[in-house]
Symmetry: C2
Amino acid sequence: MGKCRNHPDRETHYLCSKHNVYMCEECLKCNDPELYCKFRSACPIWYMERRKKRWEKEQRAEESIKKCKVTFEPENKEIEMRRESTLLDAAREADVHINASCNGKGSCGKCKLIVESGDIKSEPTALLSTREKEKHYVLACQTRVFGNVTARIPDEAIERTLKVAGMGEEATTRLKGLVKDIRPMLVDIPLELEPPTLDDSVSDLDRLNRGLKKSGCCIADFTVGINVIRQLSAAMRDKNWKVTASVIRRNGTNHIVAVTPGNGQAASLGLAIDVGTTSIVVYLVDMMDGSILAATSGHNQQAACGDDVINRIVCAEKDGVAKLSRMALATINNLISEALAVVNADKNQIKNVVISGNTTMTHLLLKIEPKYIRRDPYIPTISEFPVLQAADIGIKANPVAAVFIMPDPASYVGGDIVSGLLFAGFHRTNLMTLFIDVGTNGEIVLGNREWLMTASCSAGPAFEGGGIRWGMRAEEGAIDKVSIDPETFEPVFSTIGNAQPRGICGSGMIDLISEMMQTGVIGQNGKFKIDSSHPRMKLDGEDLAYILAFANQTPMEEDIVFTEIDIHSLILSKGAVYSGFMVLLKQSGLDFSAIDQVLISGGFGRYLNIDKAVTIGLLPDIDRAKFKYLGNSSIAGAYMALLSDGYRNEVREISQKMTYIDFSSNSQFMDEFTSALFLPHTNMNEFPSVHIH
Amino acid sequence: MGKCRNHPDRETHYLCSKHNVYMCEECLKCNDPELYCKFRSACPIWYMERRKKRWEKEQRAEESIKKCKVTFEPENKEIEMRRESTLLDAAREADVHINASCNGKGSCGKCKLIVESGDIKSEPTALLSTREKEKHYVLACQTRVFGNVTARIPDEAIERTLKVAGMGEEATTRLKGLVKDIRPMLVDIPLELEPPTLDDSVSDLDRLNRGLKKSGCCIADFTVGINVIRQLSAAMRDKNWKVTASVIRRNGTNHIVAVTPGNGQAASLGLAIDVGTTSIVVYLVDMMDGSILAATSGHNQQAACGDDVINRIVCAEKDGVAKLSRMALATINNLISEALAVVNADKNQIKNVVISGNTTMTHLLLKIEPKYIRRDPYIPTISEFPVLQAADIGIKANPVAAVFIMPDPASYVGGDIVSGLLFAGFHRTNLMTLFIDVGTNGEIVLGNREWLMTASCSAGPAFEGGGIRWGMRAEEGAIDKVSIDPETFEPVFSTIGNAQPRGICGSGMIDLISEMMQTGVIGQNGKFKIDSSHPRMKLDGEDLAYILAFANQTPMEEDIVFTEIDIHSLILSKGAVYSGFMVLLKQSGLDFSAIDQVLISGGFGRYLNIDKAVTIGLLPDIDRAKFKYLGNSSIAGAYMALLSDGYRNEVREISQKMTYIDFSSNSQFMDEFTSALFLPHTNMNEFPSVHIH
């Protein structure tokens, strides 16, 4: 027994007999060769130690005392955990997806599990109702195991397929039309070389280069790595001087990254990947004609470390960036496998990849220390990425595949926004444009082809359901549209997929608040105005709440309520976004009348009722025809950059052109924010079309 | 027990329980991650197999039967070998240097050992005298062990320090003067960066790049790898924004290969390395002022695989190129360690390396398949190498150190010649120049600044002692000067280091043949003319031989003789060189009268008597003042290229400018060669100054 080299607070039995260091189980499982030992858990030295009799005995004794088997239903996944581990840790170990917005702080109340059997101990929490407690609901992060436990993920918590991840079939068809001149980063050049003779005895590499020049590709200068050179003579002779050279063009130089025998190659595939904080989308693309062969999407496994980028960074600081990288890669590579299965293709056919994500996501994915992103003055390690290769990152593709990462102009305005601007044609338009992407963060861009000003307004995760009592993402069962009868205050709502209501998503909340305000259920300050004895009103813990759906309407048999605290959270979020608009406009000497179009990006916009978003003061009160919904513009831009060299250059230009305004220390922003904490706003002149009853 | 995956004829106990493949001990020890398993002998899985009881029992039983301990004296190195292994294999395993010119064929008779004790069985050989056999001499390659054996390397066979490897102290001082403007490939740029603020929040990489621009280095474009990016944020903050960027400039692009904290760096060192087939020379250079801090040299360990490049290639085909690479690297890295110890420096200070060697040596060192070099039409894999990094090759230096490999213009004219031409200023002179480097091969270059014509004339290893009964390299105890009394035919000779004679080196042989010819001991056809009953004559086996030193004069107590076959070998060699000159001249429409200078490169020239070399017809009969000895021009050129960008460009130009004439299929060469198999030549008009008695 000794102390883990990396976690001196942990006792461990794993001794590396080569280096004579101890490591804990987590370190053993870490996949990063730069951290810990290169051989990691695959290294049998660790296990040899086990063979020592005494240790085995201790181990057996200890295991019988300390290890607890945790079984997760309905997936029937089992994991052995140390006694007193939390159920959240067990779920993470077992790769069971649990929503843990607050990263185990016990404050979000999302990580609900039903304990079916076993010895557990839970911290008291106000986030579970009496009814839930009766049904053995617990918060996974607040519950420790003291024996073998079986826990069930409540039906209502099982994540449904995201409805908003991709672009839909019509959209992908439209995308294909956008790129006329396909120019991938990595090009396969089929060659038939002249066999050497005594009179023509140049080296194999010179012969290859000559072939490349003859083939018409203007290779002015080229580089080649030692691994290609080592395999060159065999590759060139294997199919009688027929070869395919894989060349990455960058900075005017051509990099020969592979030479393979034969010159009749399989179709070349590409990947456009949108790495969102919440969800990840993968497009598998035919690089010949730009067809999208498959589109897959899934939840970013990093969600187990919290909803927002800050929690992810905290987690990376604690557990190492490699862990977070591994989580995102696991999701990405699963989605790639799914997509490959659709067309029955091999990963080695994938030779071009574009990745779009926010600054934290790209740093984490590439195992770049994200620490300084969240520390004043908020500095990313890198904005403009070199073209990498799949093997550098661990992406499931041909190891030599070229990987383009969308540039991250600032710590809180990332490549996903740059990608969105490309798709929106923002940098080419003469129209004065406001671009917003409201996710957990809320990024805004103002400008046109002449200039671009950008900011992030820390809108918080409310619109994605974070921090809201019954908030959820726009998944099946989410209340997405609400109206309230002005007489009876009875609500009418619809849900995504017409399922029984399980919660309320962003667009539903906006509808709800707008309706509550216009029907007088709440006042402009967000406080309830109606009688607390109204049948739709109740106390949720200590908070006054409006009952949106009664328990008998819901699969959980719980009232879905919206509390005064929820309303306040939403007002903070919409206030942040709106004051962001105001500051950017004022900084550029404009007002809303100058705006020709407002482009709304991201899943959030899909079900949004523009009128109601204006009513609550989230969007400005301008001609509704000026609003345009873009969908997932990040994946769309990634797709464009995947196919076109011109677009790849344009995203670099966009990123360099963006002027970032930091709001964290901006007093103008604080003033605007204070004024915006009202429904719709303290200055009603800004909302002439909104009439309050 | 199973059969080795790579050597199906070998039984082995090493089972990889992960991949379920067997490998023999040699495969386990192979250092090449691309061959065999990445983990190789360091992988404990191999050993776990041992733990299985049954296996252990078998193993013990078998070991006691089959394993034999071989001890080599005077080094007292021990090795366990399989029964029936040869002593040569045992010596290779044990890293005991044994000269094995013919690579174990039993034909060169160089691998003599004295068996002091143990059970052995030797094949009969004519290459050992009765006296040697009485003293228990054996040929290592022809002797198998059947029990524990102690073998002694005969005193006369222990390799002495090469006398000709380096340049001597005066020469290195002269070298230093050659380079005025030092421009290394990898430059360390110390920077003090502005700390970031909210108003200046560019990414770390952009800040670094800005610092580089400000520092005055004209970084137009730069690239950076993912590993540097991953360490960037920590490196920049570690010493309060003081950093050193290590930049390799190539192709107009700057590659940031490392960023290290702090900007007061230790002295930057460089290496010039001459990888000869026989010996390797290393210069450790101060990159600030070009001083040569240490010069070390040693025998290329590959010599255990044969004297010449063809044997090395055969060996690489049999045992894998990785083995040969490992052998050369072992020598190189030992020499680097020795050099570092002289100045008490750390390998990480070495940031620039230039390697010069013939085409086979560079291919083997870089683990590039050399197979096609020896097969018609004799094609190297690569001529002009990209700038590599030390970690790519395994050179003991900073892993990111830039490594420049001298270009190899043809399969049998390599970077060592290009390097020599650079040092000789060949490509800048108006003088019509003939450059020769006579080693095992014999490369010739003819031309001047306008044009360069080159050929390799397969001179064979005779001048280096190969294939000659008592031939040896120019080491201590080698007869290097000989004269013969024309009356008595008694020889007078001197030896290197004035030691007792152990053999005869190239310059000694030239003296000897010239003297024998001029005194009438032999005729112009190379046959003995004197009476075979003369006291200096004897039969060596079936061959008539001239006794150069009687047994009582030598440490081996054996006559040192020179046989008619030896004379014939030498005539073949000198004929090949001379006909090489003739063909190059004729191809360019010149004759010897056009030659302004003859530059003699390599160790061979050091002790050479020009007059006598002309007398035997090795060198042309022109004004003796035109001959100039260059020494080891390969290491000198490598030194120059190490320090100067201009010289690095010049070697590329030289290499591209060289027109290679292949003699292997050249009928003109065959005609000339036939005429040259006479002393000095069939056409005596070409040797007006040579008078035969």
